[in-house]
């Protein structure tokens, strides 16, 4: 069914929101349009029904009780769970990140016998010169398992500077701070 072009203004008409000039126009139309008449009557009837709907009476004691309890702070605002998580989760994340950061920045104490870490004299000297730290040695030890004899041989033949470059490449590749 094709709806009347006036139908979208019917609520405005019933609620008295239609400008006066349009209202006169609409009322003339209403006399001849049965669809709009039907719609106006239905909406008016709907309003009539809905106006019968009443809010149950509440005794004043209910309000007095809440007011007193709020004023005396017997009941107070509880943060909703999502808000609590919204605050706690970022705080915990920051705390954990700070802890992790502190841990990674901790330098190796050189009181540990270097010889126990590796026998390589170049590495030992790098350690003693504080060019590398314990972490890189640990990483190196892990990597060592994967080193081929050829690479090991190459390492043995490296001088101090070459070894330093090698360690830097390793550290960049495995994201280890030197």
């Amino acid at each position: 069914m094709k709806s009347c072009r006036y139908s979208k203004n019917i609520i405005d008409y019933i609620e008295g929101l239609m400008p006066l000039n349009e209202r006169a126009d609409f009322e003339s139309h209403l006399k001849i349009c049965s669809d709009c008449q039907k719609e106006v009557n239905e909406i008016k009837k709907l309003y009539e029904i809905l106006n019968k709907d009443e809010v149950p009476e509440l005794n004043g004691i209910f309000f007095e009780d809440i007011r007193m309890r709020i004023s005396k702070k017997e009941i107070y605002y509880k943060l909703p769970l999502w808000k609590i998580f919204g605050i706690l989760v970022p705080m915990l994340t920051v705390f954990i990140l700070i802890l992790l950061n502190l841990k990674t920045e901790q330098m190796v104490e050189f009181s540990i016998p270097v010889s126990e870490l590796l026998d390589d004299e170049y590495l030992n000297s790098l350690l003693l010169d504080k060019i590398i730290d314990k972490k890189i040695i640990t990483n190196f030890e892990i990597l060592e398992e994967y080193l081929t004899p050829t690479v090991e041989q190459d390492l043995d033949e490296m001088n101090k500077d070459e070894l330093k470059v090698f360690m830097e490449v390793l550290s960049q590749r495995y994201n280890v701070t030197t």
Binding site: L46, F63, Y76
Partner: protein, 170 residues
């Protein structure tokens, strides 16, 4: 901002808790009515009214006077209502009754309850604020933080749906 409300809010901010009592009394019935019309349940409405006043009390010191106090209060109320999760309650079985005229009103009330509860939250709230509270659409827009046009559209949609849902009564 309504002058009386503004003065009361300032008094509260200056430590006069008695000012809150006056604001409470002024808005208690209106807020309860909105909660009841939204939830269609007295227990839920009481619970919501209490929550709303606790939020108002807790946040009143933070209220900036850049909008009307009633807009701020109603905004708290509608947000609390819309985010409220209705508790499951047993449905009142009335289909078996052969209603006499007195019971007809009870059945009509139940039909209105069901119809309103079938509306989406924002449409229901726009309809309540317009039809029962008599607010203009620009006020409803401000309260619901939507445009005037959107407030009007929500209200129109609500009426369209109510016409369908209550067609047996029209």
């Amino acid at each position: 901002m309504n002058e009386d409300d503004a003065a009361l809010v300032r008094r509260f901010k200056n430590g006069d808790t008695g000012a809150f009592d006056l604001l409470f009394k002024k808005y208690q019935q209106a807020l309860y009515s909105i909660c009841y019309r939204y939830t269609r349940n007295e227990d839920d409405a009481r619970e919501l009214t209490q929550d709303i006043f606790i939020k108002i009390y807790h946040n009143l010191n933070k209220f900036k006077e850049n909008c009307k106090f009633f807009t701020w209060v109603y905004r708290i109320a509608i947000n609390t209502c819309i985010s409220f999760k209705r508790k499951e309650r047993p449905e009142l079985e009335i289909k078996e009754y052969q209603p006499n005229p007195g019971e007809r009103n009870i059945i009509l009330k139940k039909a209105i309850d069901d119809a309103l509860m079938k509306l989406p939250g924002r449409q229901r709230m726009a309809f309540i604020l317009r039809h029962y509270e008599g607010y203009k659409f620009d006020d409803i827009g401000r309260i619901m933080k939507i445009s005037t046009g959107a407030a009007k559209a929500n209200h129109c949609q609500a009426i369209k749906k109510l016409r369908v849902l209550l067609k047996d009564w029209l």
